[in-house]
């Protein structure tokens, strides 16, 4: 059916996407690699080549280390918390209650809000709303989570989880609805408890959804930036400076494009390695089932 003329025409349908994508994603990636070997400041016409110097410096830079520690902690906690709560809420909403759509929409609403706004909203909650509870109940709880290096991570996790749990809940909810009912009926006949049914039917059947949400949450958390801009400014001190935040400070404010590019490349490498490892690991699990 498809002759040679058609094939050429099909090619022409891919070309626009190819060109735009190459220009906006692949070309920057290649340029980023090139700049990472230079000490360019972004302004001078000559771009001095320094070889691996930037990469060597990264290992001795305590700012980079701090940023990675923060980003990794943030990512690990998010992966655990968002998955657990998203699945929990999905199970709740899937337990045959009326008004499911209304509850679902209520939990999903925060996903519609830009992270810049989310950061500001939670700053206000910690500053203005929660301290009022102390007055109300005569307690003395420190609600200013963004205010100290010890609590800033919890505050940001709270804000970020509030925003994204609804999204992953929708994914789990959709996956739960694809599980055939007869599986549960058969298990019931065999005398399996609710608890056992969950582990022998629900969990394995959700494997594709686990893959998607674990990879998605990891990628999403490693690139955290906007939330920090309006919530903490990367502080107090540098306690909530993420990798992207650090790249921004280094390159745009500090005029070290070469060094900033090298840090970007480490982030890209981490994203690719972690995502591909997770994908292959989790997909293998899916096949076994």
């Amino acid at each position: 059916m498809i002759n040679h003329k058609h094939k050429m025409q099909y090619l022409s349908l891919i070309i626009p996407a190819m060109l735009l994508f190459s220009f906006g994603v692949i070309l920057p990636a290649i340029m980023g690699i090139y700049y990472s070997f230079t000490s360019w400041n972004g302004m001078t016409p000559e771009i001095p080549w320094v070889g691996l110097d930037n990469y060597r410096n990264i290992f001795h830079d305590s700012y980079v280390k701090n940023a990675w520690v923060f980003t990794i902690k943030f990512t690990l906690w998010n992966t655990v918390l968002q998955n657990v709560f998203a699945l929990l809420f999905a199970l709740l909403l899937n337990a045959g209650i009326k008004g499911k759509n209304i509850f679902r929409t209520m939990i999903f609403i925060p996903c519609l809000i830009s992270p810049i706004i989310v950061g500001f909203i939670w700053q206000r909650i910690f500053l203005n709303i929660l301290p009022y509870l102390n007055i109300l109940f005569g307690t003395d709880i420190n609600f200013l989570l963004f205010g100290s290096a010890d609590t800033v991570l919890s505050g940001l996790l709270l804000a970020n989880n509030w925003q994204w749990i609804g999204y992953w809940m929708l994914i789990y909810l959709a996956a739960l609805q694809t599980i055939p009912k007869y599986l549960y009926e058969a298990a019931k006949v065999d005398g399996a408890s609710r608890f056992r049914q969950f582990f022998i039917i629900t969990v394995p059947m959700l494997a594709p959804a686990f893959t998607i949400s674990i990879v998605g949450i990891t990628i999403g958390s490693l690139k955290v930036y906007e939330l920090l801009v309006s919530a903490t400014n990367g502080g107090p001190g540098r306690s909530s400076t993420s990798i992207i935040y650090l790249i921004y400070n280094t390159a745009i404010n500090g005029r070290q494009y070469g060094y900033g590019s090298a840090i970007s490349i480490t982030l890209i490498a981490a994203l690719l390695v972690v995502a591909l490892w997770q994908l292959s690991f989790l997909r293998k699990k899916e096949v076994q089932l």
Partner: protein, 287 residues
């Protein structure tokens, strides 16, 4: 007595308690999730005095619509609002057409090039543009694409294509090949077939793509803050961020600005919820 009545009706007390707990937990959770949004709405109608004095959860005595008109006109939100709407709608429109065409070509061909391009686009999903923002900025800057409405649109399209190609490819098996073949037999060109046969059949996929990319672009801050510093080209989130960093005690207008900026996307979501959830199911769970 009551217990035996329930038994006769086939209702166990255990079940009733179970259901009540279920509703209670779900209800409390949902309310907790919307509470911060309610707080924003509540603050957006308060006077400056009400912000500092008294119970922060108390409703405003009179609705201060002034906060809204102040945010909209005095803070020049009208312009950033129009800009954001323009960038979002144009970018999303182009992404849908271009990504759909590429996805169709990939799904209908077996050749090496088509397989390669599928994997090529995959890179874009695994590397979010935020990790590439520095070179993207350098390219934009050297090619005079910064402070240029078309420059930022090109970048939004380029960075949104990967996701688009993937989503559309996974939907392609919903389009029967026979219809395309019939269209070729009728003498339609491949372009004509794409626009008049394939695209209309892909409506749910296109709707999903449009919604998801619209969220993404409407809510973007990093690219917008790098690319458009000129006041006349700036976007909502950039204006909001500068407002957030200035405000000290008067944040009621900032709250009104937030409500203005999240309204269009919320209305969009609620009106196309059905497609969105369909798309998530097909694109994410099966993919």
């Amino acid at each position: 007595m009551i217990h035996s009545n329930f038994k006769r009706l086939g209702i166990s007390i255990q079940k009733i308690i179970g259901k009540s707990v279920l509703y209670l937990v779900t209800g409390i959770t949902s309310v907790l999730f919307v509470l911060p949004v309610f707080m924003v709405l509540n603050y957006s109608f308060k006077t400056k005095r009400e912000l500092v004095v008294g119970n922060p959860l108390k409703l405003p005595e009179t609705l201060q619509w002034d906060n809204y008109s102040y945010a909209f006109y005095r803070l020049d939100m009208l312009r950033s609002f129009t800009n954001t709407a323009f960038y979002t709608s144009v970018s999303v429109f182009i992404i849908a057409i271009v990504a759909g065409a590429a996805a169709w070509a990939i799904a209908r061909n077996r050749g090496r090039f088509f397989k390669f391009s599928y994997i090529y686009f995959l890179i874009g999903i695994l590397i979010p543009y935020q990790a590439l923002f520095l070179p993207i900025y350098i390219i934009g800057y050297t090619m005079n694409l910064t402070n240029n409405a078309y420059g930022i649109i090109i970048m939004y399209v380029a960075t949104g294509l990967s996701f688009g190609v993937f989503l559309m490819t996974s939907f392609m098996n919903t389009v029967p090949v026979e219809l395309e073949e019939a269209s070729f037999l009728d003498g339609c060109s491949i372009y004509r077939t794409y626009f008049s046969v394939v695209l209309p059949l892909l409506k749910p996929a296109v709707a999903t793509l449009i919604i998801m990319q619209a969220f993404q672009i409407w809510n973007d801050y990093l690219l917008a803050s790098l690319f458009v510093s000129k006041r006349s080209l700036t976007t909502l989130n950039v204006v909001l961020q500068s407002l957030f960093s200035q405000q000290s005690s008067d944040y009621s207008s900032a709250m009104a600005a937030i409500i203005i900026s999240i309204s269009p996307i919320t209305i969009l979501y609620i009106s196309v919820q059905k497609y969105f959830i369909q798309g998530l199911t097909a694109g994410a769970v099966k993919g």
